[in-house]
Symmetry: C2
């Protein structure tokens, strides 16, 4: 079968599978996910063997050690994947929830009830655990997943897909409940992005270039995440102890993720004291600082910030620092250079915090807390399919709720419109 025939078959059958999944009762989904979790653990030796094929190919292809690490499956990681599926199984079922219920003056009874989206195309890169996470979240929300993972993890993903399909077979379900795209050609991706009306949502995860390409070509709605250019603003009335802790945490705890801070803004009135407090621990943490003139006076080892450093997503131990005249300049800086992802203020001044909360147009606005908290698990959603930098459909950390839509159910007694 050519890739086109194969994909045509997947897309054609996905919709039928979605109609089936929409009718699953909550308890059934729990059982199904429990079964998948057990199978993953039972087959760990085989999974590791299949994963070796990817690792071998990755070595030949010269993948970086970070990529190789992300690709690697171990007993421990497989157990964690299975536990992740069990955690999703335990979440509150998002489907069939009556969001609102009202009766019109003419007696018509209305309900707004959550329903699955239908068929979701996930595009992502190397980590095989993403395959399991996405499949579990789609099953829990009664959606059909079409998973287009990276070439690097193909053998691991195929093995995982086989395990899902064994479980579907056991329960008499369509094998098309979860679908792995085995062609990584861009032509195949483009074909999928044209399946408007048959695929309901596209969620690309990965590098910005990939995501831009998807947005450009997709006729299907896309929920996406471009960049996390997160700011921390240390206000005149900040508790500087908290500010140091939050700065270090936001920058250094895990610099490679989207909710890590990229730029620090400091009120000029506290700049001297604060930056002197911060200098040593930043240096000890191995962090490069790129600052404006004032910053370089106070942190002598800091480099000069170039224009492009503000608004840049470093994703490593590099921090841009700017001393600002006050809250207004900080707000203007965030508006000009931010990506509307997550921004924080450190202040004990309720008025300043109030202005910041009202004026910063980001999916998450933090007061006296690290930007690193911007995360579905930290927010208590119990799961995360991604973080949306869109304002449409889902914004910010996106859990099971982001994988649902709703319908209106209208009950009358022969009502006609006059």
């Amino acid at each position: 079968m050519s890739w086109k025939q194969e994909l045509e078959k997947v897309v054609g059958n996905a919709r039928k599978a979605a109609a089936e999944a929409a009718q699953w009762p909550p308890d059934f989904k729990k059982k199904l996910l429990g079964d998948i979790a057990s199978r993953i653990e039972k087959k760990s030796a085989w999974l590791i063997a299949e994963n070796r094929k990817d690792l071998k190919a990755g070595k030949v292809a010269g993948l970086s050690s970070a990529m190789m690490d992300r690709l690697t499956l171990s007993e421990k990681r497989i157990h964690a994947m299975a536990e992740g599926v069990r955690a999703v199984a335990r979440l509150k079922d998002p489907i069939g929830k009556v969001q609102a219920k009202w009766t019109r003056p003419n007696g018509l009874k209305l309900q707004k009830v959550t329903v699955p989206l239908g068929v979701i195309l996930m595009i992502y890169e190397s980590r095989p655990n993403v395959t399991v996470e996405c499949a579990a979240l789609c099953l829990k929300s009664s959606n059909v997943a079409i998973l287009r993972g990276g070439r690097e993890a193909m053998a691991s993903n195929r093995a995982l897909a086989t395990i899902f399909k064994e479980s579907f077979k056991r329960y008499g379900l369509s094998p098309f409940q979860v679908n792995l795209v085995t062609t990584t050609d861009y032509a195949a991706l483009d074909f999928l992005l044209e399946q408007e009306g048959r695929i309901d949502l596209v969620i690309p995860r990965g590098g910005e270039n990939l995501i831009r390409r998807v947005v450009e070509r997709s006729r299907i709605p896309v929920v996406k995440h471009y960049q996390g250019i997160c700011h921390v603003y240390v206000d005149k009335k900040a508790d500087l102890g908290k500010a140091v802790a939050i700065t270090l945490n936001a920058k250094l705890q895990r610099p490679g993720v989207c909710n890590a801070m990229e730029t620090l803004l400091v009120h000029q009135a506290v700049a001297e004291k604060f930056l002197r407090m911060l200098s040593a621990p930043l240096q000890q943490g191995g962090c490069e600082v790129r600052g404006d003139v004032a910053t370089r006076c106070l942190i002598p080892w800091a480099k000069r910030a170039k224009a492009g450093d503000y608004g840049h997503e470093f994703l490593e131990k590099i921090l841009a620092v700017r001393v600002v005249k006050g809250l207004d300049q900080a707000l203007a800086h965030i508006e000009a250079h931010g990506s509307r992802h997550t921004d924080a203020i450190v202040t004990e001044d309720k008025k300043a915090a109030g202005t910041f909360k009202a004026k910063v147009d980001s999916s998450s606005v933090m007061v006296n807390a690290s930007t690193r908290f911007s995360d579905g698990f930290e927010y208590g959603f119990g799961a995360e399919i991604g973080i949306s930098t869109d304002k449409i459909h889902a914004r910010g950390p996106m859990g099971l709720e982001g994988l649902t839509s709703y319908k209106y159910i209208v009950e009358g007694n022969g009502h006609i419109r006059s």
Copy 2:
């Protein structure tokens, strides 16, 4: 100024205007909309004079009488427009609503608060009242509107935009709160559709070709409405009196709108009795019937349904009719030919109604009520910006809530992530 310079200016200033609008208190918006309503009424003579220019040009261009009627402004219609603005002013303010509020075990306090989307591009056709409706809904939801109306209504729309801007001036607001695109070139539209990151949402209203073109070219999220192919299924256990009333209402009360019925499905067990009851009133109503063999036996004057008649949006007094073996066949027909807009069952059987409600994947599912009720006003939203056939963001009738997003506000006390 070239159109490109003009649009660049609009888009560049729209974002600043949006930041301004996001801070408006609810009472201010009420006052502003009240002022706009009064100005529209005060300037009715001028509006009618400007509208004459469109009518004159329309006559030369040979617009149909239906189009000319939709384009025409009269004292009465202008008063209705102003009343429409007052009705929007009275609606509950959709911004700053705390949708959820919770505290995490670590003490972090979270709130999910509604915010405006930002800048909304509306694309629509001839009726000038749409200009007023869209502007009012965007102002009430603190969004900036970029309005790209039809060429036919340009003079009327310019006059209305002038009235808005007078009101903005009086209140010291940015003139870019509502923006009329005065170029109807497709190149100008394409330019706007590329303004990702500067425009937050596109809502096209109009013919399917226009909408498909927008979806194909837009890099900005689009909420849209393709077709309303609405079905009524008359079940074996239907109250046939109700079924006749609902059928006539759904097809004939206003055939040219998206929530009118296009196809009638009848259970074979009641087909004879029901279609004989329906035949005379349908004929009296001037409705053409296109049926399958069984239908043509029972309604002798019916024409033969061709394959393309099922799933066709007639938007006129033409009804496709099919006799089905039962509920399952009706569901399969709707799945195959429907557009997931609005579908209705007529039945006194709770079990059949339950199955229909659960299995029909449409934005509105009706039981014993006419499809014509699928409408923002009928649902009690007090306004309608459109009806979405998407499952993403907003589905079905879309009121003020559909013009909002949300942000998470997270308050800690120096919280850092471990």
